[in-house]
């Protein structure tokens, strides 16, 4: 477990500038802020509101020795593994979802010891980001106690100084970079989402650098028209990337459903070919296009319309 130095994280935040300026940039320029060896937290959960345009841009850069954390990790983890970018996964679950079974590329690397998987409970992941977001070194909790997860991770307990009750001391996590996908943002980085918020707000507040992609770039007036929808204020955001369909093939609440056919094709390829299947996926879908827009165009308007209709049905449209 990495030592938590909350005062260092705070000092960096204190020193960082908070200019109210146009923060729009391309996914390529934004993800160029990420260095080899960085801890990158990926927003959303499993196949919901994953910042896929940013993930693809990062994959294209072939960084090395990254650590990636997420609430629940989907196959994007396997793409980082297969391209040699990833040393360590920090999450509570890795897979695609029930019907697709175990993830073969993940198994390949972790079972051989070629990548490390730090398995926390789901709440513990949330509390790690929350402690980081709160600027405290740990949060007490009643979860993870007694389990072998606690032993494997070296999770410590604390006794309450008031009542003497025993609690898990869940350590803060301050990622180097957080990647978040949102429904709307203005150019200054005021960010709005619809639907559930996953762990995104805490993850972003905890991080040193925050990159947000958005379905739509809107005016500050549109943000101010519904301020309760704002998840992050401009001073907590470093880069804003326009990214229509920026979660595809994953879902974006209210706008488009997940493309399960795409998942199934990926799962079949990796079941048959292992890591080579994941690498071919990256070569075709990431490297094979000049940018994320090319990948979206390749999906085709019919597919995108069908996924929008799926979301519409659930939203009563």
């Amino acid at each position: 477990m990495e030592p938590v130095t909350v005062m260092t994280a705070r000092a960096e935040r204190e020193a960082a500038g908070r200019p109210v300026v146009d923060k729009r940039m391309t996914a390529e320029d934004a993800t160029a802020l990420i260095r080899d060896g960085d801890h990158v937290a990926i927003g959303g959960t499993l196949y919901s509101r994953t910042p896929m345009a940013l993930v693809f841009a990062l994959l294209r850069q072939r960084r090395r020795h990254l650590t990636v954390s997420r609430p629940l990790a989907c196959y994007e983890i396997e793409l980082f593994l297969a391209t040699g970018a990833l040393d360590r996964i920090v999450t509570s679950w890795v897979g695609i979802g029930l019907p697709w079974g175990l993830a073969p590329v993940f198994r390949h690397y972790v079972e051989r010891g070629e990548a490390r998987y730090d398995e926390w409970s789901h709440l513990a992941m949330g509390l790690r980001y929350k402690a980081g977001a709160m600027g405290v070194p740990f949060l007490p909790s009643l979860t993870m106690l007694g389990s072998d997860l606690a032993g494997t991770l070296g999770l410590q307990t604390v006794d309450c100084p008031y009542t003497g009750e025993q609690l898990a001391a869940v350590p803060a996590l301050n990622p180097d970079v957080a990647l978040i996908h949102a429904h709307r943002a203005d150019m200054f980085g005021n960010v709005q989402v619809d639907g559930y918020r996953h762990m995104d707000a805490d993850m972003a507040k905890a991080a040193r650098t925050v990159i947000v992609s958005a379905e739509r770039i809107v005016s500050p007036e549109e943000i101010a028209a519904s301020p309760a929808q704002t998840m992050l204020p401009h001073f907590a955001v470093d880069a804003v990337v326009p990214a229509p369909h920026g979660s595809y093939p994953h879902e974006c609440y209210g706008l488009y459903g997940p493309d399960f056919e795409h998942f199934t094709a990926y799962a079949a390829a990796t079941k048959e070919q292992g890591p080579a299947g994941a690498l071919r996926y990256v070569e075709k879908n990431v490297d094979g296009h000049a940018g994320f827009g090319g990948f979206i165009a390749a999906a085709g308007p019919e597919r995108l319309a069908a996924l929008a209709a799926d979301a519409g049905e659930l939203m009563g449209r």
């Binding site: 919901s48 999450t91 029930l98 025993q166 399960f260």
Partner: protein
């Protein structure tokens, strides 16, 4: 009822354990389906909570979610919040039931969804806890539903991902776990609970036509057998109709029986689901 699948039998049996005016934190798959059946039967005021930050979901028949973090899981919800917030409601004591599946469960109700073999040299690295560790640690009463097979019902799990009664007796309380009484385990063969004191798994009821010997045969440890073993009532036509409509969508208007046909999206569960 010879056409009742093991999955249907388990979901219906488990659904009957959920009382009205309670709150259930359900994992995806059978726990969610069973909770939805209960809402259509004896528990119309049962509030279903899902780890994706979803409170009071109703589900659209035939559009069941594969993950408890996706849009379909939020259909008809009363509240959408963030993940951590949902779990903190559990820690506060709001959730009457935590409802889980299990890839591997032992005689003390400990669940393994992390690894087959050892962590150092895994034979199979499984997906992990997801929310299961938190649900079993923080909800008031925990229900487990899983198929009854020796490879699932083991004496000691390879790894305690989600703590049941740990090594029995008061070991769970001594670890600092203040909530999470383990209520029942529902399988396609039986209804089980945990003996007070030893906290070992105990047979309480048999699915129709199943013998104690058959249950023992499918259990990988020495199972305690309660004094008053009941025979469980088979799923009624109404319960099955509700279950199948939720899974498959509304019956077709011409009533040609195709409502039983499994449709896309209701995939077969594998042991390692995220809770």
């Amino acid at each position: 009822m010879s056409d009742v699948t093991a999955e249907e039998l388990m979901a219906v049996t488990a659904s009957r354990l959920l009382a009205d005016h309670k709150v259930v934190f359900a994992g995806v798959g059978m726990p969610l389906l069973a909770s939805a059946v209960a809402r259509h039967r004896q528990a119309p005021h049962l509030t279903i909570v899902l780890e994706g930050g979803i409170i009071g979901t109703t589900l659209l028949p035939g559009k069941l979610p594969i993950s408890t973090n996706e849009m379909r899981a939020a259909y008809g919800a009363q509240m959408l919040t963030d993940i951590t917030d949902v779990f903190l409601y559990a820690q506060r004591g709001f959730f009457d039931y935590g409802f889980l599946g299990a890839a591997q469960v032992d005689m003390y109700g400990n669940i393994n969804t992390s690894v087959i073999g050892s962590m150092e040299r895994p034979r199979v690295r499984l997906p992990g806890s997801g929310g299961a560790n938190d649900i079993i640690s923080l909800c008031n009463e925990v229900l487990i539903v899983t198929q009854h097979e020796p490879r699932r019902f083991v004496e000691r799990v390879d790894f305690i991902t989600s703590p049941g009664y740990l090594s029995g007796g008061d070991s769970r309380a001594r670890a600092g776990l203040v909530g999470g009484r383990l209520g029942a385990v529902v399988t396609d063969l039986a209804l089980l609970d945990f003996e007070p004191g030893s906290r070992r798994m105990r047979l309480r009821g048999l699915q129709a036509g199943v013998t104690v010997g058959q249950v023992r045969e499918q259990t990988g440890f020495d199972l305690l057998v309660g004094d008053d073993i009941s025979e469980l009532v088979p799923p009624s036509a109404d319960e099955l109709a509700i279950y199948r409509e939720l899974r498959d969508g509304p019956p077709l208007a011409d009533g040609d029986g195709t409502a039983d046909t499994k449709r896309a999206g209701a995939g077969d569960p594998v042991p390692a689901a995220p809770a």
